[in-house]
C-alpha cells in the first residue's frame, strides 16, 4: 500500500486550487420532477428497500464474536446521526482516510470477527444506506486537516487530471460545464450528497465508488479498483468540496 501511495503523494505535493462552483447545488436540483418526486416519497423511493435491509442487519448477530452492530452502537438513529456526513475520515491506525464502506467492514472484521461484506453487495449497500439515512438533512462535515491534506490534494489532482481515450477531466464536466446537457441528462456539479444512490440506469442502489467507475468508463479510462487509494482520495476530495451541503441519501438519480 505504501509503495503505491508514496509516488502518488509526491505527485500531488503541490497544493491544488479547487475550482468548485460558487453556488453549490445538489444533484437533486438537476434531476427532473419525476425523479425528485420518487426520491421524496419514502414508499416510492427504491433506496429505502436497502435501508430496510440495513436496519435488519444492524440488529443481526454475526461473526465469531457473535455481536450485532446494535450490541455496541445501540439505536442507530442516535449513535449514527451525522456519521455518514463525516466520511471518508482519517484512520489514525492506518494513517490514511477510509470511506464509510471500509469503516463498516473494519467493524465487521475487527469487532464482529466476521468476513467483510463484498463491495456492492446488497448487505454492504444496505448497511451503508441505513447509516447514510441517519444523516439525512445534516450538513456534510468532511473538512481538511493536517493528516488528510496530502490525500485531499491527491483527490483534487485526480479531479483535474485528464484521463481516458476521451481525454477528459472530472472538472471539465462538473466544474466548467455543469448545467449543460450530456446525452439527455443535465450535467450535475458532482456533489455526493445522496450516496448510496438508487441510479435508474442501474435499477439498483450503488455506491459512490461505483458511480465514479462509471464516469471513468464513460471517458474510456481504466476505472479504479474498488477500495483503491486513489478512489478513496477522490471520494474524500468530493465530500470536502461538498462540505456544508445537506445529505439526502438514499437519493434517486437518472
Amino acid at each position: 500500500m505504501n509503495g503505491v501511495l508514496r509516488p502518488l503523494l509526491a505527485l500531488a505535493a503541490a497544493t491544488v486550487v479547487a475550482a468548485a462552483p460558487d453556488e453549490k447545488r445538489s444533484g437533486y436540483d438537476f434531476a427532473g420532477p419525476e425523479i425528485r418526486a420518487m426520491q421524496d416519497d419514502d414508499t416510492a423511493n427504491p433506496g429505502n428497500l436497502w435501508v430496510l435491509q440495513g436496519e435488519t442487519l444492524w440488529g443481526k448477530r454475526a461473526g465469531a464474536a457473535d455481536r450485532s452492530c446494535a450490541d455496541c452502537h445501540g439505536d442507530a438513529q442516535v449513535s449514527m446521526k451525522g456519521v455518514a456526513a463525516r466520511y471518508p475520515a482519517f484512520d489514525a491506525a492506518l494513517r490514511r482516510p477510509i470511506d464509510l464502506e471500509q469503516r463498516i467492514n473494519q467493524c465487521r472484521t475487527e469487532h464482529q470477527k466476521a468476513e467483510p461484506l463484498s463491495w456492492e453487495s446488497d448487505e454492504l449497500l444496505g448497511v451503508s444506506a441505513f447509516l447514510a439515512r441517519q444523516s439525512r438533512g445534516l450538513p456534510i462535515t468532511v473538512s481538511a486537516s493536517p493528516e488528510s491534506s496530502p490525500f485531499l490534494d491527491l483527490g483534487g489532482k485526480l479531479f483535474e487530471q485528464r484521463e481516458g481515450q476521451l481525454n477528459l477531466a472530472c472538472s471539465q464536466c462538473h466544474d466548467e460545464n455543469w448545467g449543460k446537457r450530456l446525452a439527455g441528462n443535465l450535467i450535475p456539479q458532482g456533489h455526493p450528497t445522496g450516496y448510496p444512490v438508487y441510479r435508474l440506469e442501474w435499477q439498483s442502489l450503488g455506491s459512490l465508488q461505483r458511480r465514479l467507475r462509471n464516469c471513468m468508463t464513460g471517458v474510456r479510462a481504466e476505472p479504479f479498483e474498488f477500495g483503491a487509494p486513489q478512489a478513496v482520495a477522490l471520494e474524500l476530495y468530493l465530500m470536502e468540496r461538498a462540505r456544508g451541503m445537506p445529505m439526502d441519501a438514499p437519493a434517486v438519480r437518472p
Binding site: 419514502d42 414508499t43 416510492a44 427504491p46 429505502n48 428497500l49 436497502w50 430496510l52 435491509q53 435499477q203
Partner: protein, 106 residues
C-alpha cells in the same frame, strides 16, 4: 423474502377512498438482456400482484417485463370495514410472497 414497503392510512372513515402504495425489491429480469457470453439471461419477474380486503380480492394486476425493477404499484380501495389487507406477489417460479397489514375503519 424480498424487502417490501407498504403505505396507506391505517385509520380511515367508512366510505373513504384510500390510496395504497407498495414497493417490492425484485430485479424483474426481462429475459431480453444478454450475459457476457451473449446468452439471454432467463426471464424472472413478478407476474401478478393482488390485494385482498378481509378475504375479498379488491385489486389485481398482471405484470409483464415492461414493468421496472423494484416494482412500485399504487392503487385505491374503499375503506369498508376494519380488518386485514393481504398483499400477494407471485413470480414466474410460482412462488408467492404475502404481507398482511391491519386497517381500522370507523
Amino acid at each position: 423474502m424480498a424487502r417490501v414497503l407498504i403505505n396507506f392510512p391505517q385509520r380511515a372513515k367508512r366510505g373513504d377512498i384510500i390510496e395504497i402504495k407498495t414497493l417490492i425489491q425484485h430485479p424483474m429480469e426481462t429475459g431480453y438482456r444478454l450475459d457476457n457470453k451473449g446468452a439471454a439471461i432467463p426471464r424472472d419477474i413478478i407476474n401478478c400482484f393482488t390485494c385482498a380486503y378481509n378475504g375479498d380480492e379488491v385489486f389485481r394486476i398482471e405484470l409483464f417485463p415492461a414493468i421496472s425493477a423494484n416494482p412500485f404499484i399504487a392503487f385505491s380501495t374503499v375503506a369498508t370495514e376494519s380488518g386485514e389487507l393481504v398483499f400477494s406477489w407471485t413470480d414466474d417460479h410460482g412462488q408467492t410472497q404475502t404481507e398482511t397489514r391491519q386497517i381500522t375503519v370507523e
